[in-house]
Amino acid sequence: MNTKHIMKEYDYLKPSGLDEALQILSEKEKVKIYAGGTDLIVKLKMETVPDMDYMMDINGIEELKQVEYTDEGVRIGANRKLWDIETDQRMTSLFPALTDAVKAMAAISVRNLASIGGNFCNASPVADAVGPVMCYGGTLEIASARGVRKVPAKDFFLAPGVTVLEKDEMLTGIFIPTPKGDVGHAFTKMARTKSDIAKLSLCVALARDGGRIGHIAMSMGAVAARPLFLEEISAGLAGKEMSESLAMETGEAVSGFLQPIDDNRTTAVYRKDVTKTMVADALALAWARSGGA
């Protein structure tokens, strides 16, 4: 048959509060969380989801959908829908790389369903919303019946589809600190068509210190087994005077550092090659946006 049914059998659970959800996770085995389902349902139809006995729908939990701003930053509930994030004016003005990344994902009819937490927990190396959160120094809030812990976004991913989440834990929120000073950001993505999965994606967030780079963070998607936070190369740029040649050199350095693979979207050679210009361009763009000459 030319149709894709979900063949897996499971029970459907819909807790109405967070405590109830955490209780379910601690008491039951083989529970899968359903947020937007835009990754999970596709995987179920392709039969790539491992054992599951329960589908826990978290859409009845209001607090997971909330967004809250303070002077320190923003806390985004894990199940906040991408559409609510990209249409949030305050989010766009504080974290433009994040809203640009979200707008570059899928189609509106997917973004109305998909959550930011699902993008993280699916743990694909191409997940677009991840890079900006890492570069802005975001922290993930992880809860279980045992308590709450915080993990820097950059330390969340272990391997494709694998995160630091234990089986009784779930992601509840994402905290991103408000950028300070003369900041500039850029998110760029190479894909076949606008809403396609990335062949390459890149995020830069920097704070300018006069003619020099103050703080900078860079990350890339679709170049490694997990979203790649370019910690050392970024650290090496702090304090340097910005110039066209610095941007080009950085592009070369990042490209040299990568060990991408060939896959059905593109080749390793393409990825290494295009990275050079992508990095140089994004650095220049972020610099210009920070008010740098």
């Binding site: 149709t3 894709k4 049914h5 979900i6 063949m7 897996k8 059998e9 499971y10 029970d11 459907y12 819909k14 359903y34 937007g36 389902g37 835009t38 349902i41 596709v42 179920l44 139809k45 392709m46 006995d53 589908m55 729908d57 859409n59 559409w83 899928a106 189609a107 509106i108 009819s109 997917v110 109305n112 369903l113 068509t193 606008k194 809403s195």
Partner: protein
């Protein structure tokens, strides 16, 4: 294991109760209950022909679990066409502009277009292309589909139609 789930929802303005398998998509549930204007294409979120309005937002019904729709409101192309003057006009515009060839993408295109117009979308070709970017059409080349949505957006802007 895997009990049936009873869901109450509003489909095209009518209160209905469906009994569905826990693993059934909203698209399958609708089609099993004779809502056949919701088309089944790729079933994995790529083509958009299954697009419906869920609580007023365009979503791909093949990616949505039916069980998760308990208490929610669904509108499809056909229901909107009967009850909603804006969508009825958009359907006519598709005919006028020659936006329908084989017709397979049409229900999803209309729902995506109607959602855009209802949310205040402007007569802006780039924005219209963006909102139908999740809807594939293998026949028309998209230009005439954009034309139709543009035409209705223009009519709203000129006050000849209310969104």
């Amino acid at each position: 294991m895997s009990e049936k789930v009873k869901i109450r929802l509003k489909v095209n303005g009518e209160d209905v109760t469906y009994e569905v398998d826990a693993h059934m998509s909203l698209m399958r549930a609708l089609r099993e209950h004779y809502v056949w204007d919701v088309k089944c294409g790729c079933e994995v979120g790529e083509c958009g022909t299954c697009t419906v309005l869920l609580d007023g937002q365009a979503v791909k019904s093949c990616l949505t679990l039916a069980a998760a729709c308990d208490g929610h409101e669904v509108w499809t192309n056909k229901g909107l066409g009967y009850r909603d003057p804006l969508t009825a006009r958009l359907q006519e515009a598709f005919v006028e502009c020659g936006s329908v060839q084989c017709g397979f993408c049409t229900p999803g295109m209309i729902v995506a277009g109607a959602a855009y117009l209802k949310h205040g979308g402007k007569a802006d070709r780039a924005a219209i292309k963006n909102i139908i970017s999740g809807n594939l059409c293998r026949c028309t080349g998209y230009v005439k589909i954009v034309d139709a949505i543009y035409l209705v957006a223009k009519e709203i802007e000129e006050g000849r139609l209310t969104a």
